[in-house]
């Protein structure tokens, strides 16, 4: 017997909107998230920041409604809860405060979101080099503003963070963008469709205007990133732009190359994954309602494919309606009717994606970096070593991993899988490469905690 109707893993926009709709529909919802506050990556600490940190902007502040909607008798939100395994049933095993337990549910929604695409280049492991999204988390959760920072990379989030830094009175020293004019031009065929997402498009243009107005120096079509540390601990950042070598000294180098779904949990759950060529990432296969090939397992939000916060919230609503229908709370007609609004929202929110994906692709040198670059941060494996293992015959993730320990550290490949794939497909773009196998525990768990797990009911024979 299921202990709750629905377990939601992840309290970002997808998870929160699912929770609200499901609970209003009469389901008992258990919401688990490893962060101390609900909100997910985008709305981190939004409820705590109601009256302060206005520089984070309107779109951020809007998240407070989703958090407030969690205040419902049908929703139990457990913060600091790390899910580390999923079993058939479905059953969810999670850890909190050094203790693990297993909870069963009729349905489980995985709404665990995205991670920043690893952006390796020589020097990316130095203190002083950090993903731009990480700096943004510090702005949201700790009121910490980057000092003397260069923002480097590409994608809409780079502009947003630049604008937030400008509004907070700590503008970036320089903006170094990798996308080229050709990429922008190549993206224009997607513009008509993007017009359906006009507000998002305008917002983006507004951000760029703000950066212009603040007179932040900008380089475009930059390549050949290389960072070293100076005597005093500053970062010496060199690159090429428009054929000329450039070098900047800064306190902080913030890089960004877009986000990819965090698929560790969905892969470990046994869900089938597919390669999304436009986004250059694996994502769990799912239908229009977020249902996967594993009974009782649903996905929504960026973890199911990158779409942004508004798309995530809409997808969460659709998943909730479908789960309500499968739980016998609403008919399929009602589900379909009520879905119309969310479907339209999802369409609008996703309309701009093809344009963004085409305009801001990760550069080849990030996908398959130079030999000297560390690829696996945990095991300290270089791209050169990976190329050597490929030269010895390795054809897939597993052979590289077992040859080099690449991806065997505590992050279990989260920081190197994407790069391994890039290296594996060098010069043979069309060869299919299956996603690497993910296993439990999804996050490290102490032997003592694992040993203390209790199994109340015997499994049916």
């Amino acid at each position: 017997m299921a202990e709750v109707d629905l377990i939601i893993i992840g309290a970002g926009p997808a998870g929160m909107s699912t929770a609200a709709v499901a609970a209003r529909g009469g389901l008992q919802v258990l919401m688990l998230d490893e962060q101390p506050q609900p909100g997910g990556q985008i709305y981190r600490n939004v409820a705590q920041n109601r009256a302060k940190r206005g520089f984070l902007g309107q779109a951020y502040a809007a998240g407070v409604d989703l958090v407030d909607a969690l205040d419902h008798p049908g929703i139990t939100h457990v913060a600091g809860a790390t899910v580390w395994r999923l079993d058939k049933g479905p059953q969810v095993t999670w850890s909190r405060g050094g203790k693990s337990q297993t909870t069963s549910a009729a349905h489980v929604l995985l709404a665990t979101g995205a991670q920043e695409r690893p952006a390796p280049f020589p020097g990316w492991t130095l203190p002083g080099v950090m993903p731009a999204g990480a700096a943004q988390i510090l702005m949201k959760t700790a009121g910490m503003l980057p000092k003397d920072a260069v923002l480097a990379g590409s994608g809409p989030l780079l502009y947003l963070i630049a604008a937030q830094m400008i509004d907070a009175g700590s503008p970036p020293q320089t903006l170094v963008e990798t996308q080229t004019f050709t990429q922008m031009l190549g993206a224009t065929p997607h513009l008509p469709r993007a017009l359906f997402g006009l507000p998002t498009l305008l917002k983006g243009l507004g951000l760029i205007a703000k950066i212009r107005k603040a007179a932040v120096p900008r380089y475009t079509a930059a390549s050949g990133f290389h960072a070293t540390a100076t005597e005093s601990g500053k970062i010496q950042f060199s690159f090429r732009a428009k054929g000329r070598a450039q070098s900047l000294t800064c306190g902080l180098l913030l890089t960004h190359q877009g986000v990819i779904p965090g698929t560790h949990i969905t892969r470990a759950a046994g869900i089938a994954h597919e390669w999304n060529a436009a986004q250059g990432a694996f994502q769990p296969q799912h239908d229009l309602w977020g249902e996967t090939d594993q009974p009782g397992l649903h996905v929504a939000g960026d973890g199911a494919g990158i779409g942004g916060a508004e798309a995530a919230a809409a997808a969460g609503e659709l998943a909730a309606l479908n789960i309500l229908c499968q739980s016998g709370r609403i008919s399929s007609d009602t589900r379909n009717q009520r879905a119309a609004h969310a479907r339209a929202a999802l369409f609008r929110a996703r309309a701009i994606r093809p344009f963004l994906d085409a305009a801001y692709p990760p550069p080849a040198e990030i996908l398959a970096p130079t030999d000297e670059t560390i690829v696996c941060r945990c095991e300290e494996v270089s791209a050169g070593a990976v190329r050597q293992a490929i030269g010895e015959g390795a054809q897939g993730h597993r052979q590289i991993k077992t040859s080099l320990r690449c991806g065997m550290g505590p992050c279990q490949g989260r920081m190197c899988d994407a790069t391994l794939r890039g290296l594996l497909s060098e010069g043979r773009a069309n060869r299919p490469i299956s996603p690497p196998r993910a296993r439990s525990p999804i996050k490290p768990i102490a032997l003592g905690e694992l040993a203390a797990l209790s199994f109340p009911q015997e499994e049916p024979a």
């Binding site: 897939g396 439990s440 102490a446 003592g448």
Partner: protein, 374 residues
């Protein structure tokens, strides 16, 4: 597409196939290794790295002695791999324990070791320690351990570096290793020789073939007239974060990899081809680890996995020459790490018929003939 004909083709590039390939290369043969897909069942990429003799062959003397020969051959073999590949396989043969928490299991194992000693004669070396003596020797051992056996002959290597060292050694000796070359069927040719049809449509012609495809041998053995049916046996394992200091012991279920991580394993289950790790077994392995050595309790597990052992019907190695199709050989075993030095040396003599030693009759598949017919 027709390809150039090497003398001997090995099907399977796991520990067994590569060891046999190395032996043949060292004997001066031209060798080609065909290895399957990245996501095949690969015991060679999921094993425990033990070089282990305790209890092996207690009820089958040839296996007890064969294993003991292998243990003795390891130091020179590791040296040879280092020279050929430049890779240190981290051989450590300073002895290993088998821990017990159940007195009757402890007694039963002692009986097996006594039996094994009758086969090994003066080569038998083991001692039994009761719990208190053990804790005197090694203060960190938990109070629920009732006893342990110890053999100074046992040891381990880094299994992943070992696999890579074998592959690089084979390549250094001029062997060709082709990965992503799954053999779909084998057609013995009328005038002798074999046509190996690959899954991608290519055909490889060869005069002699050695089938070492682990669980992949199950579907190919029949093509060559062999009757051995290998079966998967699931073993589950845990690996922890790395530790800077060393565990004071090596055991058949808890071992520290030279890089620092602690590996915990030793389970056996029949789960078909399902190699997923299960929650209950993970918890059981963790319980075992903290029972044996309570200080491990705060060490974190970073990954659990399942791997499929390659088991012959009686669990012992099979070294068979096809009578129906001369030039075809079958080599399969469970303890491919332990036995590797022999697979890379004397097995070549047996394949090439160049020397009367060793007598491998006992490992022929004719021992399954009766049950096969039944």
């Amino acid at each position: 597409m027709q390809q150039r004909t090497p003398e001997i083709t090995i099907i399977g590039g796991g520990l067994v196939g590569l060891s046999v390939a190395l032996g043949l290369l060292l004997a001066g043969q031209r060798v080609r290794v065909l290895d399957g897909a990245d996501n095949d069942a690969r015991a060679s990429q999921g094993n425990f790295g033990l070089i282990w003799g305790q209890g092996k062959g207690w009820d089958f003397a040839p296996y007890a002695n064969w294993t003991m020969d292998a243990l003795a051959a390891w130091p020179a073999f590791a040296q040879q791999l280092q020279e050929l590949s430049g890779i240190d396989v981290a051989l450590d043969q300073s002895g290993g324990y088998e821990f017990f928490t159940d007195p009757s299991e402890f007694d039963a194992f002692e009986a097996e070791l006594t039996q094994q000693a009758t086969h090994l004669g003066h080569r038998a070396r083991y001692e039994m320690l009761n719990g208190d003596d053990l804790r005197c020797q090694m203060p960190g051992i938990g109070p629920d351990v009732v006893g342990a056996s110890f053999s100074p002959c046992d040891g381990h290597v880094n299994p992943l570096r070992f696999l890579r060292a074998l592959r690089c050694s084979v390549q250094a000796m001029g062997g060709r290793v082709t990965m992503g070359a799954t053999v779909a069927t084998i057609r013995p040719q009328p005038g002798g020789g074999f046509a190996l049809a690959l899954a991608d449509g290519d055909v490889v012609n060869t005069e002699q073939v050695v089938l070492c495809a682990g669980l992949g041998s199950a579907s190919l053995a029949g093509d060559l007239g062999f009757i051995t049916q290998v079966k998967p046996q699931l073993g589950e394992l845990l690996i922890t974060e790395k530790l800077g200091d060393r565990l004071p012991f090596l055991s058949s279920t808890i071992r520290q990899v030279d890089e620092g991580g602690v590996q915990i394993g030793g389970t056996k289950a029949d789960a078909g081809l399902d190699d997923r790790e299960s929650l209950r077994v993970m918890a059981k392995l963790a319980q075992h680890a903290v029972t044996v050595f309570p200080a491990l309790a705060d060490v974190r597990v970073v990954r659990a996995w399942g791997a499929l052992r390659v088991m012959s019907p009686d669990g012992y190695p099979v070294y068979a020459k096809s009578t129906a199709h001369p030039g075809a050989f079958l080599v399969t075993c469970h303890s491919g790490v332990t036995l590797a030095p022999l697979h890379a040396s004397v097995l070549a003599d047996w394949i090439l018929n160049t020397s009367p030693i060793p007598d491998l009759e006992a490992f022929d598949e004719c021992r399954f003939a009766l049950s096969h017919a039944a």
